[in-house]
Amino acid sequence: MFAYYLGLALRSLKRNVMLTVLMIAAIGVGIGASMTTLTVFRAMDGDPIPQKSARLFAVQIDNWGPENRSHPSSDGLDSMLSYTDGLGLMNAHAAHRQTAMYTTAMALTPSASQLKPFMVVARASYADFFPMFDVPFRFGSQWSAADDAAHADVVVITRELNDKVFGGTDSVGKTVNLDDHEYRVAGVLDAWSPLPRFYDVHSSDKRFGKGDDLYLPFTRAIDGAMTTAGGMSCKDEPSGWEGILHSECIWLQFWVELPDAAAVVRYRGALNNYAADQQRSGRFHWPPHTQLRDVRQWLIYQHVVSDEVHILVLVSFSFLFVCLLNAMGLMLAKIVGRAGEIGVRRALGAARGAIVAQWLIEAGVIGFAGGLAGLALTVLGLLGLRSLLSESMIELTRIDVADVGIAILLAVAATVLAGLYPTWRATQVQPAWALKSQ
């Protein structure tokens, strides 16, 4: 019977081409708009590290007290830590894996003298960073804990940087010149771009744009007085590099890996103990105020999905709703216009269910065609977005198989939903009308 209804639907659509085209176009445009924004939204809102997002936590600690707030956030905590707290927490070693980190800018002077020096963004972190965030290596591996302790001149470079400087070859053991110092390459990463870049959401460019170019030990960066490129907030003006290190200026990110719920509880306790110690020693004049947030909670807290995207998603789904109302109106008109035929079929023995099946399947066919049209428009829409928005958003405009499925499903489901009322009206056609409409 399904094939029969399918055939009837196709015939019915062919009969009034203009109307059919209008309906498919309307649904296509609605789906196109919605899927375009939904794709971007899903990319922004997705879990960048699903296999581990519940085990990685961002650490926050209030080191300015209730009277001094730099930017108001929902809980009065800032997303960055001071050097004192970062180092203190690293030394407390209360987590399975942990790293304090920040980004700094360095000038790389390539050995090939024709190439001018260029800027790289370097992330200063501890060796734990790499296993914590499941960072894949192409050649070599991360530096060791001993390297951290020794403040070694060692780096891990990304695949893109390796391609640019070493032509993509295995550069482990070779050196790079950063700000007039040679650093040994311990490892080369494979392609790695978790989006959003949850571990560094401070600036909107970093969330989705180009990531870091290389990594070096945190201890080495501190030794080299490498100032942060990732923003710093200070309560009082610091005096020199040492001043920054001893001040309450906040500029570090701190992440820990906690393998299970018990570890989380223990760490919360350790964190609060640390803050309590600071209070006891007189550095803090307020009770411990700390927080742990896993990746998903962190992303929500940081409002990673921009307001613009929220607005666009709302607007486009409202648009889809209007398109569906349109489709419903047109389907209603079509069905009431075909009341005669419906009456005849009922007279010939079609039960109400048969009428429902016939018209819902027709709605489904329209929905499917609309979905296909919508997909084509989505591709166009994403291309358009790419040219309109800044580079940092380009990664978000990729379409994957899931998006295709969602588009078709959404189109069919929505059109069938819109067809429910008109179909109900169709079932209300009395078989006796076949006689009466003389």
């Binding site: 007279a347 023995g349 039960a351 269910g353």
Partner: protein
């Protein structure tokens, strides 16, 4: 075969209650050809819609092929309609986007028959009405008489127990009307049970017997049909 006893059908609007049929009784036996006549507004069309299970009735009893029809749910009525009744409408009521074959197919699809069985029945009924050559044509390509014959084939394909015809020649010219009536008489000779509603006394005489309806009730005609012709205005 088709037995109504004291049937009544009332239409209720906000203010007024009208009876389209009142105390209506009729008994059509298997193999009979009965004409139901009466002036316009007499209720004969209502009788047909109720007989065809197209509408529900208010009071009384209706038995179709031995089964009591009162209180049946919509799905059951649809099934009964599909299996027991063949309709022949005044306006043919063929579905314009379907060709002859597919039109006849419609009630068979709702029967749930398989492809081969349906094709066999369509073939047979087309031959019965003499239109096998036109199986791929669309209704718009056929004359009125041919369209009606397709409608009759559609009615026959499901092997119904009774054929209900509503002014079957009302939309046809005299020539085509004659052809269709001849076909209907043929079907009767072959054993079909036929109930035909008409206002045309010349058609009514071709049936076996006549039931006259006035104001929703069966009226006993003491006078022979010929005298009645003069009494009613030709519509």
């Amino acid at each position: 075969m088709l037995k109504m006893t004291n049937l009544s059908k009332a239409y209720r609007t906000e203010v007024v209650e009208t009876y389209a049929l009142r105390d209506f009784s009729i008994h059509v036996r298997e193999g009979e050809f009965v004409a139901v006549t009466g002036p316009s507004g007499s209720g004969k069309t209502t009788f047909l819609t109720i007989a065809g299970l197209l509408e529900e009735f208010t009071g009384g009893e209706y038995q179709l092929d031995g089964a009591n029809v009162r209180g049946l749910r919509d799905n059951q009525r649809s099934r009964l309609r599909n299996e027991k009744i063949g309709f022949i409408f005044q306006a043919f009521n063929l579905i314009p986007d379907l060709n002859v074959q597919d039109n006849i197919d419609v009630p068979l699809r709702y029967r749930g028959l398989n492809g081969a069985e349906r094709r066999r029945r369509i073939q047979e009924s087309l031959e019965r009405v003499g239109l096998s050559a036109r199986s791929r044509h669309y209704p718009a390509e056929l004359s009125g008489g041919q369209q009606q014959r397709v409608a009759i084939a559609r009615a026959l394909a499901g092997s119904p127990r009774v054929l209900l015809a509503d002014e079957p020649t009302g939309n046809l010219d005299t020539h085509m009307a004659r052809g269709v009536m001849e076909l209907i008489e043929e079907l009767h000779r072959d054993g079909a049970t036929i109930v035909m509603v008409t206002h045309d006394p010349e058609l009514a005489v071709r049936a076996q017997r006549e039931v006259h309806v006035v104001d929703g009730q069966v009226v006993d005609l003491m006078v022979p049909p010929r005298a009645v012709v003069g009494a009613h205005a030709r519509v």
